[in-house]
């Protein structure tokens, strides 16, 4: 288990087209940290640089305080789970899992004990003698995890390990994974584009946007105190409403006296924080409902105001008149530079 430090990493595959700029972060021993960002923002590239499969143009990677910049992947004592698993097709599951141990000259009985133990942990004991081609997607994913776990490396690097599973299996595996890595006290860097995975699994989230770090923090902190408009809109479903303060003042959603000084900024409010009333009330503004989308537990309302606004109400929503009154509570408003 280890402490990982990334210092000021820059990377461009073609000159002038920067993929990563000034990426720095620290992962503590035993921590589960997610790298969250849209597809193509450089998450995989960061993992590959940590693994030693790619070299950064500048900056350094430290594992347990040691600069591993010159070390090859095998000398970094890291394990990586690839997005498409990358199992060895010509070897059976047992050989797939034990490859890393065999190479590290670990005694045979110890290897078979650890393979057995890891296979049991992941529920793949029955398949040990099969080739990967005879496994389902979920089983392959487990084999890929087992191959990483069995090594007991300093750091686990996981590249969207759930993205190839169907929705049901993904939800189930998500909580399993979290438990699994808690149990082995692994230091994990988990790449995902799925905010739910990042929110539910990690102790901290690193939000990436176009190769830059937007914010680092605990899930709740990132959710409740987004530092940039990007972070604000990236986390939460439905995503945070973002609008110009000046426009909101124009259409009466915000008062000129309170927010006039902020009229150059952008404001944001989460749909679930908007107060909704069926009756006229003090301080509430009357708006028309464009669309009401019931999702079961909640209903998402798209409102017709001077700005794009969506609100969420509990349960089903029945309003024949298509009119409601809303208010944006001051304490739930976020402001970002425009």
């Amino acid at each position: 288990m280890a402490h990982v430090e990334i210092k000021n990493i820059n990377k461009a595959f073609e000159t002038g087209k920067s993929i990563l700029s000034a990426v720095s972060f620290t992962i503590n021993d035993g921590e589960f940290v997610s790298l969250l960002g849209a597809s193509g923002c450089g998450k995989t590239t960061i993992l590959r640089i940590i693994a030693g499969l790619e070299t950064a143009d500048s900056g350094s990677v430290l594992i347990d305080g040691q600069d591993v910049g010159a070390a090859s992947p095998k000398d970094r004592d890291i394990a990586m789970v690839f997005q498409n698993y990358a199992l060895y097709p010509h070897l059976n599951v047992r050989e797939n899992i034990s490859m890393g141990l065999t190479l590290r000259k670990i005694a045979r009985p110890e290897i078979s004990r650890r393979v057995q133990e890891t296979a049991a942990l992941l529920g793949i004991e029955e398949y040990l003698d099969r080739r990967p081609s005879a496994l389902s997607g979920g089983q392959r994913q487990r084999v890929a995890l087992a191959r990483a776990l069995v090594r007991r490396p300093k750091v686990f690097l996981l590249d969207e390990p759930l993205s190839n599973l169907d929705a049901l299996l993904r939800d189930k595996t998500r909580s399993e994974l979290k438990l699994l890595f808690e149990r082995v006290k692994g230091t994990v860097i988990y790449v995902t584009h799925d905010q739910v995975e990042a929110m539910t699994m990690s102790s901290r989230i690193i939000v990436l946007n176009k190769g830059r770090i937007e914010q680092i923090g605990a899930p709740q902190e990132i959710y409740s105190k987004p530092r940039t408009a990007f972070v604000a809109s990236f986390l939460g479903t439905p995503s945070m409403n973002l609008f110009d303060v000046s426009k909101a003042i124009q259409c009466g959603l915000l008062s000129q006296t309170a927010f006039g000084s902020k009229s150059a900024l952008m404001a944001g409010i989460r749909p679930e924080e908007i107060l909704v009333s069926q009756r006229r009330q003090d301080g509430f503004v009357e708006v028309e409902i464009l669309v009401a989308e019931p999702t079961g537990a909640l209903t998402i309302l798209t409102l017709k105001t001077g700005v794009d606004l969506r609100a969420v109400v509990k349960g089903s929503f029945n309003n024949a008149r298509q009119k409601i009154w809303i208010s944006l509570p001051d304490q739930h408003l976020h402001f970002f530079p425009n």
Binding site: P73, K74, A86, Y88
Partner: protein, 281 residues
């Protein structure tokens, strides 16, 4: 014609065509087999005897007793296996370098290699003989092994490089993270995954080395150093008018067997699709 009849007649035509092609290509070999089993009188009989009246395997004994045929076979085995291992091994290394390492000028070199293979070896015979002589390798199987390997390398590299490129990069990288160095990645991951291509290449190189005549004749002047094709060509009777066709045929049949055995042994490998199930599916 009914549907069924039509189906049957097309089936008949198909098998008829297959049989014809088989007969066409196997007829010479069949003729050799028959000849090798004829008695000496029937071999030279005119008009030719197509079906021997009496089968005899005496010519098979003759080539081993009256001629040093086992020595030829031994020489051929050394040369063919030596060439196959040397050529396939070197080609695998070169092909891996060309397909994976981003070497400066790698592309140009790999094209140049292909260009070199267009030279007909016949043009090189005299120059090669001088080289071999200078190196003191005349009548040494090494001379043939080195030359055959060199002649086959361009083709072998080209086939293998194209196959290696198809091994998903992810698998190699997973292996690197698992702790394999460049060498182990090649031998434990890339080569097994490219087994069909390697087997095919090896077979073709083996067949070439087993059958090659011109260079073998040129480099190996001593009878004890000769390979099978040259040995067969040198089989002759007491006079020039007395060519021992039965023995020649027996020799041809015997020397064709290793090649057939090789192909059969590797056939399963060639057909087997090994890359299935590497990634999600």
């Amino acid at each position: 014609m009914s549907q069924k009849q039509r189906k049957q007649s097309s089936k008949f035509l198909f098998f008829g065509a297959v049989a014809l092609v088989c007969f066409w290509s196997l007829a010479p070999f069949l003729w050799q087999v028959l000849t090798s089993l004829k008695s000496s009188e029937e071999v030279i009989a005119s008009p030719p005897v197509y079906w021997p009246s009496r089968l005899t395997i005496v010519s098979y004994f003759k080539i081993f007793s009256a001629r040093p045929f086992s020595v030829y076979i031994w020489n051929s085995l050394i040369v063919a296996f030596g060439t196959t291992f040397l050529c396939t091994g070197v080609a695998a290394l070169a092909a891996y370098a060309f397909s994976r390492l981003k070497l400066p000028g790698g592309k140009a070199v790999s094209n140049a290699i292909l260009l070199v293979s267009l030279f007909p070896p016949t043009l090189l015979v005299v120059a090669l003989k001088q080289l071999i002589q200078t190196a003191g390798l005349l009548n040494n199987p090494l001379s043939l092994i080195l030359t055959y390997a060199a002649l086959n390398l361009p083709f072998a590299i080209w086939v293998l490089a194209n196959f290696f490129k198809q091994v998903p990069m992810d698998i190699e990288e997973a292996a690197q993270v698992d702790g394999l160095g460049r060498w182990s990645v090649l031998w434990k991951i890339v080569a097994p995954l490219s087994a069909p291509a390697i087997a095919t290449t090896a077979i073709l190189v083996f067949i070439f080395s087993w059958n090659e005549f011109l260079l073998a004749l040129t480099f190996m002047s001593k009878d004890a150093a000769r390979t099978v094709p040259v040995g067969i060509a040198m089989l002759s009777g007491v006079t020039i008018y007395e060519i021992p066709w039965d023995q020649i045929s027996a020799a041809v049949v015997i020397t064709t067997l290793p090649v057939v055995a090789m192909v059969l042994a590797f056939q399963r490998r060639i057909i087997e699709g090994l890359t299935a199930g590497a990634v999600k599916g």
